[in-house]
Amino acid sequence: MEDNFAALLSQCARQDQAAFKKLYQEASPKLYSLALRLMQKPELAEDVLQEAFIKIWQKADSYNAQKGLALTWMATITRNKALDKMRSLKLKSAETEIQYEGLDFASEDLEPEHQEGLSQEMQRLRECLKQLQPSQRECILLSYYYGHTHQELSEKLNTPLGTVKAWIRRGLETLKPCLS
């Protein structure tokens, strides 16, 4: 499948502002959604999104399509910006008023039209995630989307810390050969 975002990033690397604006318009809703879940506050999520897109513009020429999809590359930048901000603000999700939570959007039973829109890479990842036990999958996804620590997961899931750690460790061990 053609990666439209990759083509736009390539134009951005040549300082094409019109392409960058189109890239922003098309990619920002997903990336903002990710930032919202990590930061929990719209104003902080918008700061993260802004910083992420400035970096995307500055680093567009370093994107390598051989290493993954453009949206994935941009998501990694956004996520790392969010984690940096959480760290600099010493922000813990437990300290904020939770507005965004849950994993309904990552349910195994996606609507057919939603599934069709997924990249092959995401469909492969979904197949790998299906191999995990529900508790393992939940912990890993909550960590990714919300940045929860082991301790926070333990409290959120009302499960001993050691059990949460074991779920995550075993989940990643199961994922490793599948992702490779």
Binding site: A18, K21, P29, L31, L69, T72, T76, L172, L179
Partner: protein
């Protein structure tokens, strides 16, 4: 086993890299791993490979529209850092709002006419647009200005709210490239974005303007003490 040797063991570092990319490595362990990652390419490469796998999870998220201020902030930052030679072709869309009143038009015409006589500069390449990011005293981008030739439009977009006292307005000024006293150009409208057409003669004279400034002043005194709250250099944008 030393810490470095531990991280050179593929069984150890690959698990940690995977955990880092999935977001399950936290606290001091995450910080320690990041420090090592900066020194060792193989750690970076392994993390990058896993990030490209887990990053696909963003596709499952429902889209949420951020507010317009995000794009305005991005645009301000990028414009500010672009050298004039690489500045973008301006898009014909909302921008500046000076000169809405007739007197402001007249003021600009007079100002620029004076500048032409005093300092007849010439440029090697023809401008297709002018742009300026006006910053506050602490270098925070507050307003983006563009003047585009294709639609002869002046526009100002305020990136952030500027608190005003009752009865105060924002006023736009320009200074010639040779300096001297600022010259009043017009008032900004109340909203965050204003726009107005200019004529060809006014466009031709803009090449003599070096910088723009915005003041917050009482409507009573048209040319009171000049206390610029925002300043920015006017950048000439030419065809590549």
């Amino acid at each position: 086993m030393s810490e470095l040797n531990r991280y050179q063991n593929p069984d150890v570092f690959e698990k940690l890299a995977m955990s880092y990319a999935a977001g399950t490595l936290h606290g001091r362990a995450r910080t320690r791993f990041e420090a090592l990652m900066e020194q060792h390419f193989y750690l970076q490469a392994t993390v990058s490979a896993y990030e490209s796998k887990f990053g696909n999870l963003v596709e499952l998220l429902p889209g949420e529209k951020p507010s317009d201020r995000v794009w305005q902030g991005i645009e301000a930052s990028i414009l500010r850092n672009l050298p004039a030679e690489e500045a973008p072709k301006a898009e014909p869309r909302s921008w500046f709002g000076w000169l809405k009143q007739g007197y402001a038009y007249a003021a600009l015409a007079v100002v620029i006419a004076i500048l032409v006589i005093v300092n007849p500069l010439s440029t090697g390449r023809d401008a297709i647009a002018y742009a300026a990011v006006l910053e506050s005293a602490d270098n925070t981008p507050m307003a983006i200005t563009r003047i585009t030739q294709d639609d002869l439009t002046l526009s100002v977009d305020l990136v952030k709210d500027i608190p005003l006292e009752d009865g105060d307005v924002l006023k736009l000024w320009c200074r010639s490239k040779k300096g001297g006293k600022p010259v009043f150009m017009g008032e900004l409208s109340k909203g965050s974005s204003t726009r107005i057409q200019i004529n060809q003669e006014e466009w031709d004279h803009l090449k003599l303007v070096g910088s723009l400034e915005i003041t917050s002043e009482s409507t009573v005194k048209a040319n009171g003490p000049h206390n610029a709250i925002l300043k920015g250099s006017l950048t000439t944008i030419t065809e590549k």
